[in-house]
Symmetry: C2
Subunit: 310 residues, 2 copies
């Protein structure tokens, strides 16, 4: 247990990310006091039962009173309204941050509402599971995951250092990046993969010549890997696509172009092209495992290990 | 240990599937004797070291001599040549089967070479991991997975019953299906998901404005789920797409149509459409977990569980 980095931390939103920040901050002692707010009474009641915050407040403004760090953990579409609500109650010198998957739109939504006497530093922890809500959180969610900060111009260096230290204490590795570049990188590594996974689920669900039951029964042949990310929170993902429209559409265009090239190789029976293409992609998987961003065990660890590897 | 279902079983090909059949048959006692053959001397040597077969032969014809069940565990593209090679050595009354992911092309490649005195029953176990080769196999690979048999006309009922019992003894659940329907179902649940995953890896690898390092570093945001199936055996997948061309292209067409609908909703900012679409796909994941075809633990079990769920 180290000395708290922020004496009081307010979490606005207590879903998967908000509750995980609370559990991880408890683990590290990075927050002197944890105050939480959720819009729904049911979520607040559940959060009280789970006990990951010291206090749960019914209003967002009450939660941020006297807080040294305020983190918005609500969908990006709610940023404008919630920032307007908390702005008058923010303490001078407080650090205001968020966890949204899109950074340019987050900055545009939040900045106009903030008083001059707070430090706004956008953040995006690249961590999550397919589960949502206060029950889904756990202290290890950010361990060995990246948290990208996209500081705006003239960000206070001390505030930045504190926020960095806070995320590191939650287990994350911290990087800085320009907001526009962040949005493009995430379009490639997250937003378009989600769009594709949702689409493949839609196709499977719609195939009249293949029954729903068959899709489910035979999903282990590959399809089930897509369904995990397509089970993520629908409101959050609606807001991500609306907020990162241009980068998403750019990468979708590249994807379809590449898919058409693959389709042509299939149609014309170009086995050499297919073999070369499928060989290249193995290297990416290897790099991801070496970078500690995935596990090497077969089937993501779902399957047993070979007997001689036990 | 029950009585063997087949006194001698010959496995032609000792990669992930061949070696897993051997381990699983050892576990159940379904094979009196296991004989294995692989084309490469290195694979044969490794298989001898691992010890999952009773005998390893240098020629495929030698392996099938006296065998009551012969299973082709080589890529579909090699079926014609390997069947021609083993045909003269096949014992009268032997059951000949395979494990290929495509069934119409398998039947077309194998049938012309077979003598009348054997029983050919195509099979496809829906199991695998992203790893290949004799080291990748393990006894539990087929547990609770499906094995689809696509019997041709006038299949001998006793041979069919024996092959079914054999796969059940390896842990699999067995279904029968028409070969053409199999190829369509698998295009949806496996072949097109693999094509898409390979394509997304290709796009990520090619993005000049996003570095390779960034793709790897931030892959946990979704992309890494695609890389598992895109790391599967390239030769096998080349053959699958060449052999299941028409169903793959049909489903790819449906996929692109659906993707364009999603893209239009993103471009026009149709939040209601996006929310409804993303909500629907959650139900599919739920069904897959209920059907025992995936695990419910967050992140496929890669992540820790929430503390209150431990």
């Amino acid at each position: 247990m180290s000395k708290p980095i922020f004496q009081r931390v307010a979490l606005i939103g207590l879903g998967l990310i908000g509750s995980s920040i609370a559990w991880a901050a408890r683990r590290s002692g990075a927050a002197g006091e944890l105050v939480g707010h959720a819009n729904s009474e049911a979520t607040r009641a559940r959060a009280r039962d789970l006990g990951f915050c010291d206090r749960i407040t019914a209003s967002a403004a009450e939660a941020v009173e006297g807080a040294d760090l305020v983190i918005l953990c609500v969908p990006v579409g709610a940023y404008g309204a919630v920032t307007a609500e908390i702005a008058p109650a923010l303490k001078a010198g407080a650090v205001v941050s968020d966890v949204g998957s899109v950074k340019q739109a987050a900055i545009e939504a939040i900045t106009p509402h903030l008083p001059d006497h707070v430090h706004f530093i956008p953040a995006h922890p690249l961590a999550g599971t397919e589960h949502s809500g206060p029950d889904a959180g756990f202290a290890e969610l950010f361990d060995n995951r990246w948290c990208i900060l996209t500081p705006v111009e003239d960000t206070d260096p001390d505030a930045l250092a504190d926020l960095r230290a806070f995320w590191e204490s939650l287990g994350a590795r911290v990087e800085h990046m320009d907001a526009a570049h962040h949005d493009l990188v995430l379009a490639v590594t997250s937003h378009v993969p989600h769009a594709i996974a949702y689409t493949m689920c839609g196709v499977a669900d719609d195939m009249a010549r293949v029954t729903d039951q068959e899709v489910v029964q035979y999903s282990a042949a590959g399809f089930r890997d897509f369904t995990r990310i397509a089970a993520s929170d629908p409101v959050m993902w609606r807001d991500v696509f609306l907020a990162n429209k241009s980068a998403t559409i750019e990468i979708l265009g590249r994807f379809v172009e590449e898919l058409m090239t693959l389709q042509r190789a299939i149609r014309t029976g170009d086995g050499d092209h297919l073999l070369a293409y499928f060989t290249r992609t193995r290297a990416i998987r290897r790099s991801i495992i070496e970078a500690g961003q995935d596990v090497e065990t077969p089937d993501f660890g779902r399957a047993s290990r070979p007997p001689h590897q036990k």
